[in-house]
Each structure stands twice: as C-alpha cells, then as structure tokens.
Symmetry: C2
Subunit: 315 residues, 2 copies
C-alpha cells in the first residue's frame, strides 16, 4: 500500500486527510491551530503540530515512511511554486518556505504547497462537481472570496502566487475594498457585500420587507427571504447575481474554462445562486463560449484535503 | 541544418517566415490570399497556396523534407488544440481541421495550428518585449481586439479555442458589440470604439477641438490631437485608458502574468498608450500584483510568424 496526506490550513483549524494511492480517503481529522502571542511562534508551531499529527497517524497505522507518497498542503495566502508563502495576512504569517520547513519535521520529502482556494478547486475538479472536466475555475463565497484555477488538471498559481484572485476582479461600482481598490467583486458578493446590497436597498426604499425586522442581516437570512419572495431581499440577490455574472463572463472570456464552480458557505443557499447568476451570465457570453457550465460545488469543507492530496498524486 | 516555417494568415495577405533551428529568421515573404466567389473554395485554396509557396521555397533553397522540423500557422479565429478551426468568421471559413488538410499538401507532418492573436503573443514572449518573461498576456488593438495568453512559454488556447478573448471581456458601459453582448472592451478601445469615445464627447460638449474640423476621425488623428493637448481628444483617450486598465486589472487578478503587452496598429501611438493605461491600472491592483509590468509590443507585423515558428520548436 501507498499513502498520501492532504492538509488544509484554515484560520481556526487544520483539516487532514489520509488517502490511499487510488485517491480514496481512509480517514479525516483535525488539528486545532494553537495561536501563540507572537506571530514568530505561530506559523512554525502550527507546522510542527501538523507534522506531529502526521507522524502520530503513521505510528498509529504502522505506516512506514517508504510507503508514503507525499503530503500536499493548502495555506490561506499567496504561495509561489517553490513552496514559499508570500502573503498569508489573515494568519499573520511571515514570508518563508513551508515546503522546506515541513520537510525538516517529517520522514519524507515530497511536499507540495499551494493556496487554500487552489486546492479546493483541484479537489472539486478531481472528485467533486468538476469531475467531468479538466479545466475549471472555482469561486468560493464566504467572508471573502477565494478563487482557484485548474488548467488541464493542474493548479495555476500565477507568477507571484496571486493567480485566481477572483474576489478582486473589478465589476462596475465603486465600493471600497480592504485591498485598497474600488469595485472589487467581493464587495458585492461575499458576506458583507450581500448584506450591504440589502442595507442600501432598505435605505433607498420604503417597501415592506421581512429584513426590516430581522434581528441580524446575514447572507442566509437574505437568501431565505429572497426565496420567500421578499422584494428587498430579491433585489439584493439580483445585485449579487449581476456582479457574479460579470466576473464569470470575464473569467470565461480570458480563460475559456469548461466549467465555473461556485462553492463556499454562501453557496449552500443552493439553486437560487445558479439561477440568479445564470440569468445575468448567459447574455454576456459570446457564442464561442456558450458551452461553459456553471455548477455548485459538492465537496464542502472536504474539497481542500482532496485537492491537497491530488497535488501530490499529480507529481 | 534544420528549418522551420512560420505562417500568419490575415484577412488580405498571408505572411511566411523561414527560420533556422536557433530561431533566426532567414527570410520573410507574403502570399496574397486569392478570394474565390464561394466560401467553399476560399479556405482550401488558401491552404493550397500556402503549401505551394512552402514547397517552392524548399526547392529554391534545396531544403530536403527531412531537414524541416515543421510548420506553425496562425488563423484569425478560434482554433482547438487538435488543429480544428471552429470560428474564423472574418475569413468566412467553415469548421475543418487545418492541420490535417495542410499536411495532405506537404512533405512533412509536424504542423501546429493556433489563433493569430495567440501566435503574436508567443512571438512577443519569445523574441519581443516579453523576452524577459515566461508568462504574458498580449492585447492587440486594431479594427477589433485580439488577445493571446502565454503561460510558462506555451500558448493557452482555452478549452474550446476561445481563450484570450480580451476584446470581449466586460467593462462598465452598455455599448452594443458585434458579438451580441453589451459592454465589451473593444467597443471602447478598438478603432471604432476610440472614434465613438471622441464623437460622443464632441456631441456632449461645446468645447473647441481640432477634431471638429478633422476630415476623418480615426485613432491616429485622435491620439495625435491628444498629444497636442486637445481637450476632447484627451477625454477620448482617458476613456480608452480607463477601460483598458479595467480589463488589464481583471487579467492580472485572474492570471497573474508577469507582463501585459499592448500591440496592434493602434499601439503605434506609443508612450501615451502606456501612460494613460498605467494611470488607471495601478490604482486597481492589489499589492500582491504590483510587480505586473505593462509594455508595448515591439515586433509589429512579424510577431505572428515568430510565434508560429516557436510553436513548432516548443513541441
């Protein structure tokens, strides 16, 4: 038997998966990332914790190191092809080579590092809703927007590790983004953006809406109200769909993928997402691109460990 | 000695180049495409003419077929990886396999087909202003807008041959494009779009402008007037720069290339193009993308034959 580890580093937890050489997941577990008081300690301690968990799993299952094909790991930040993390601001990490550091703690050397959105995209392309396609773009809707590009079954990291930054593609509008630019997609279609769509409509209109008496405005409340026909909620979702479609049309015109896959927590709203984006997407597509498919992701939080494992198999 | 042919099919002429195995161009010439009355004849006759010209050149130079590495050819239309032209509407071509048909007329089999904008991009990446980079996007400004993507030294055709359709990426605005969609980049930054920018400003304003007495409005007249400080012409070029920058920001956020190269007839206006696009491009870039370079193309009409030859060398 041969084994592969897939690791997905998140803000509060690290997911791990053990896979066999056929790509079946044998076991999934989590390591809670222990945040230390200084940034210096955090990233190195976290990688030590991950390595310790991998070593412990090998001992538990009596897996000798020569039966381990390798380990893939996804980090929430820009990662260069050589394994250097250059921009993991949400984790407060410095610039350093994750591949080399992790290898120093492990009894095997084949370690592949990429961005968390990229490994989720590769996971969906391999085992999820992109399994019929070789070339897909995944857009992950949550607190922010992640983007991952898979070309002919391989992750495209971009030349400085910042490829697939779909959340910062520009759409019509001038809302200010955390990145310092105006009109970024995520200001209209990630969580806070969807809430702002609704808030602005509530202020501009006198129309009755269940959102006026909602204890909290969040994407779930707004999508649920839209499904019930609430006019303000529907208006907020139309803005969401129009901006998403604008970005998806630009992805299509530039890359011409077979499919664009929409995932992340917000995509749990389901069919209404596809219906609303499709409505504004199709009229923006030239005939040569009409075969492009929009789909919802299906692997949920497991997409990352699948993609992380796949990176190693693809080597 | 070994030889390579590079062929660039245009609307009115076909350019050919003979290269040695080091990639030096030994000779350049043209075959005028003889249009027949029906579409059926045209594309097949044109390929026969190209093949005859290649065979004649081999005879003239006494090049035996075993010394020919191959032939690369670019077509103005969408081309699949297998050499099938699926959408060459400007030439009125049907759907057929250019690679197979050309091979049937030639004494060698290594033939690689791509889109004309893609081969121009590869030519610039190989021997032109992209020579310091492996990954570039080229935007060709002319009657329409062509786009070509080179990732790690290889053309990215897209999954249905429609990758790099930069001219049909969407920008803010609702001008109707020939493709049937609204807000396509080329409606603001290709020849007719630049003229429309100026015409609309002339109608909206009473301001003095040399453009009011110009015998004809075309991009050269408008760029020349802008360089002289004409306010209406400058306004038209600001619109051009803003829309180009919007598209370049989206290219950068999606693909994260090292450089974006601006070419085509309109780019002969020179530094004013870079200055105006840069002005609106930099504020739209997140920090991780700040290394992206904008450059003007340098190979002019020869870019295509260089890129066509390079495709064969890259095999």
């Amino acid at each position: 038997m041969s084994y592969i580890f897939g690791v997905d580093v998140g803000g509060t937890t690290v997911k791990l998966g053990l896979f066999n050489e056929q790509g079946d997941v044998l076991e999934k577990w989590e390591v809670v990332s222990k945040r230390e008081t200084t940034k210096e300690v955090t990233e190195h301690q976290l990688l030590k914790d991950v390595a310790a968990s991998v070593v412990a799993k090998c001992e538990e299952r009596a897996i000798p190191s020569e039966e381990i094909i390798g380990l893939g790991i996804g980090i929430p930040g820009a990662v260069r092809d050589d394994g250097t993390v250059v921009d993991a601001v949400n984790l407060g990490w410095g610039i350093f080579n994750v591949k080399h550091e992790l290898a120093s703690y492990l009894p095997f050397e084949n370690i592949v590092v990429s961005n968390d959105a990229n490994i989720a995209a590769l996971g969906e392309q391999w085992k999820g809703s992109g399994a019929d396609y070789n070339t897909i773009v995944m857009v992950t809707l949550g607190t922010g927007i992640g983007g991952g590009i898979v070309l002919n079954g391989k992750i495209w990291n971009g030349t400085s590790g910042a490829g697939g930054e779909i959340g910062h593609t520009k759409v019509p509008g001038d809302r200010l983004c955390n990145c310092g630019c105006r009109g970024c997609l995520e200001r209209y279609t990630a969580a806070a953006g969807i809430v702002q769509n609704a808030s602005e409509l509530l202020m501009q209109s006198e129309e009755e809406s269940v959102l006026r008496s909602a204890p909290e405005l969040n994407p779930k409340v707004i999508f649920d109200a839209a499904k019930e026909g609430d006019p303000i909620a529907k208006g907020a979702i139309e803005i969401f769909g129009d901006k998403m479609a604008f970005a998806c049309a630009n992805i299509s015109n530039i890359l011409n993928p077979e499919a664009i896959i929409i995932g992340g927590g917000i995509s749990r709203a389901g069919q209404i997402i596809l219906d609303t984006v499709e409505k504004y997407y199709r009229p923006r597509l030239m005939t040569a691109l009409s075969g492009t498919v929009l789909k919802l992701a299906v692997l949920g939080n497991d997409a990352g460990i699948y993609g992380a494992a796949r990176m190693v198999m693809g080597k």
